[in-house]
Symmetry: C2
Subunit: 110 residues, 2 copies
């Protein structure tokens, strides 16, 4: 197998970043890492998000295979979101980034 060059590494890395690029994706993933959550729970816990943005975030995470959506057609309706194995595996990357941020927050302030 040939060595990956800079362009290939940058492309692979960018694909990961694109998975997390939306404003609320990371917050949603951290919440779901603690367990399954309903739409309204995410809506109230993730921050000052609009329903439109939250839905877009969830749909994009679902398309990318990080999150699963389950609908329970009760009255009132219930929709639950949870991490896929892939979604779960990416949380270790998130925690590495958080840890790096704590080691460099002096620089991030500037």
């Amino acid at each position: 197998m040939t060595e990956p060059n800079d362009i290939e590494m940058a492309e692979g890395t960018r694909r990961v970043l694109d998975l997390l690029a939306r404003k609320w994706s990371v917050g949603v993933l951290y919440l779901l890492a603690r367990g399954t959550r309903r739409y309204s729970e995410l809506f109230y816990e993730v921050g000052e998000v609009s329903k439109k943005a939250l839905t877009q975030t969830l749909r994009s995470l679902e398309r990318d295979g990080l999150v699963v959506r389950r609908v329970y057609p009760e009255v009132p309706m219930r929709v639950e979101y949870s991490l896929t194995p892939t979604g779960w595996s990416i949380t270790s990357l998130l925690m590495s980034m958080y840890e790096w941020s704590t080691e460099h927050d002096d620089r991030l302030a500037a």
Copy 2:
């Protein structure tokens, strides 16, 4: 010290992602990880980038303390870019992301 909650972890993680959010930031960092490069070298090696976008990328990396810019007022002019210690330290994060992408590229294709 108190445990960080999800919101704090998401905020720290997002600050790191914001550092890398621009389209060409990752490519530039990978190139500079191999050593100092001139503007024109980056321009030709990083991909199909416009000069405007490359300059914006470099300015933003410089503001965030990941890159240093050095000007040599010769004729013709020479400008060199290189990683700061902070910039260097973030490359290990980039490589973790690249590695993750290679382990999940089946999912990324979908």
